[in-house]
Amino acid sequence: MNTQEVKTVGCRKAWIAFVAASSCLLIYVMACVMSPPGWSPDSSKIAILVTLPGEQEHPKEFALFVYDIATGAHTLLDEVKADGVLSAPAWSPDGKWIAYYKVEPTPSEQVRPSSEPNAALSIGERPVNTPEDKPDRSAPSTPAEQLFSEENQMLPPFMFELAEERVKDKNDVETFDVKLVIATPDGKERETLQVMKWVGGDDDRGSMVLMRPTWSPDCKRLFYVRSIESECYTASIDIATGTTYAHLLSAPPNPVVSPDGKWVASYLEDDDTLIASRIDGSVCKYFKLDLEIGDDGPPMLDFTFWSPDSRKILLVDKDSVLHSIDIASGQTEFYENPDANSIAFPTISSTDKKLYYLGGFRTDEEGPPPQTISLKRMDLEGKRTRTIFTFRMPEISRDDGGGVFSISPNGKVVLARAVMHDAFEKERTVLIFWDGKTQKIVKTDRWLLKPLYGDSNLIFEERLIGKWRREDGRITIAKGTQEKTYKLTWVEEDKERHAVANLVRLKGMTFLGVFLDESLVEPGSHLLPDMFMRVVQTEPKLTLQAIEYNELAELLQKAAESIRPEDVGTEGISEFERAK
């Protein structure tokens, strides 16, 4: 082969290699860009904050779960105990992430005034993603800089500086760290986007339960509220770069972002001034509203939303009447259609861009609880309304305001989070789903409980079986349909109730694990009973003692080998005689 031929052959091979490599690269890039997302927001799952039973006011434990409505499976996303707090969760519009605030159970810290420049702001380790980590900003050296760490895009700009000055003037400021966290719905991946200082006390920590971050429509930015005592401001973080921006002074609730992702809106602390600011900081508009909003009503911003064309802000006033404010002209419009009145828990559907809301709902705590509620749909342009379906409310506790409702993004399912009484008259937190045909009730208290016993602890005692009676009632214990289970029927005040139970031996004592819902005695749930009854004795009398889950958990933890009777006490003991 001569030199020319060698070159020709070499060139041909090079062309083959070049084409092969380029094609592989091109095919890969096309495949990656066009690959479908792994999960879509199809209203099939919900993310929900759950607290321990009986701790509605001041929960000691918070956990975030994702619940699959069809399968009934629940997945733990995150949890905190003791003094920690988790906020309400917020799905990203693409359904891939869930964002929330998290306060770790650490002691609050004292910020000294910035007049002491070397004052240490924080104790312990510096958070991973504090503003110091950002490459485009110099390291904040004073407390005020850590509290106002965002780039200012607020209009007028001096408002940010005024808030900063107010904090500087104070001598001792109580602060706590709030994490802005995102997690995948399967709970496998979790990332802290930002750790920020909040100024405030226990009340401010407690109020976080009602808050949630807000996603931009393209999922690239997350909006959050930052509390500096009486001052609050809305800021955002760019997920890709971690850069944060301050947008507007606001009230504590959640900001609302326009569907085109260009505007963010909130209210001033006085509740009657609406602020809308362009996210790039170029325009900020203030609208003084002649409406009664907030005060003793539910959280205001859950009742404020943007029209699908991002030109109007719609809000529901104290009397559940819908109004709209034109961002360009500032004109307020009242929706006069009588069917549009009494709008509650409104949401703009992600599928047909129409307004879905609950009609016939009364928030008046003095009046009787609503019996019948309708899911309604309104065409915002034509103002025509239509009833999708009507459902009857079950008997729920009024202690927590009669439940918190929400409508699924596709406008097909209504969800209520409420408190109901079980057969033992104990309050249980439940989720109630309505789809127009069926009503599904899911108890959530059990989600936080850890099994106190395993299959090896299950025993079966023939002597329990039979009819037992006492002065004010009777109980029948029979063999259950499944192995090592009992079927209980008890009558009190002429009311007959049924349950299923396991008998377990734990550290020298015998307990009945009582399941109020028979279907719960199935794989996965059979180790988490609704309540425990200590079996003190079976002969000659059946003596039972009611014991709470927490008490039993504590007893089991403390007892080295066996639980002593004096540790349990004598409260809640009932005696039954065998009936002939």
């Binding site: 060698v6 091979k13 070049f18 380029s22 990332e191 986007l193």
Partner: protein, 204 residues
């Protein structure tokens, strides 16, 4: 810096789905590409730097043993790329790394030979093949420790990815320009129906 990062993220959005749930977060910063693409561009960048330092790309196409390995790496991608197997982030990164390595090992020498009209400066020797294996072992080890949680590591990784991307873009551009130039020469200067020019081109 923020604007630069936005521009990079925007450019990469044309090349990657940027699935945030499948992207590495380094020191609180999310990489603007998914884990597999991160591996791909990182593999391309690191391999390109290796080839530049070794100057092996000017000698010839890789020897047969290396080509076989590269082809095997290319064939492995559909298994992971189409999610037939998806054992997690480290495997996604690995499949991208070896795929990127294979592409650059073929693309850069090929582009060099084509642009030099078939001229090569020598042939591969035993040491150069050995150094490839050492380098390949290093690449395969990256998923075991990647990523280090440091902002510097984030930017270094991003830099290598951009190098890899620019390397591919440069190679394709050089060859495309050369091709256009040849077509232009043959079509305009020599005439579309010039039999002699066509025969000269066909020899190439």
């Amino acid at each position: 810096m923020v604007r630069l990062m936005s521009v990079i993220a925007h450019i990469l959005s044309f090349l990657c789905s940027q699935d945030a749930s499948r992207s590495f977060a380094i020191a609180g910063h999310l990489l603007p590409v998914c884990q597999r693409c991160a591996g791909l561009y990182l593999g391309m960048g690191v391999t390109f730097v290796y080839l530049l330092l070794k100057r092996d790309y000017r000698r010839d196409l890789p020897p047969r043993s290396i080509v076989y390995v590269n082809v095997a790496c290319l064939l492995a991608m559909p298994i992971f790329g189409f999610h037939l197997l998806d054992p997690g982030p480290a495997w996604r990164l690995w499949s991208g790394l070896v795929y990127g390595n294979a592409i650059v090992f073929l693309l850069v020498p090929a582009a060099s030979i084509i642009s030099n009209e078939g001229r090569r400066t020598g042939c591969h020797t035993e040491p150069s093949t050995t150094s490839f294996w050492i380098f390949f072992a290093f690449l395969n080890g990256i998923p075991l420790w990647f990523p280090a949680q440091s902002v510097w590591f984030y930017y270094a990784g991003l830099l290598f990815m951009l190098v890899g991307l620019l390397c591919a873009a440069f190679c394709v551009s050089v060859v495309t320009v050369l091709l256009i130039k040849k077509l232009f020469m043959s079509a305009v200067l020599k005439g579309v129906n010039n039999e002699y020019a066509r025969s000269q081109d066909s020899r190439l």
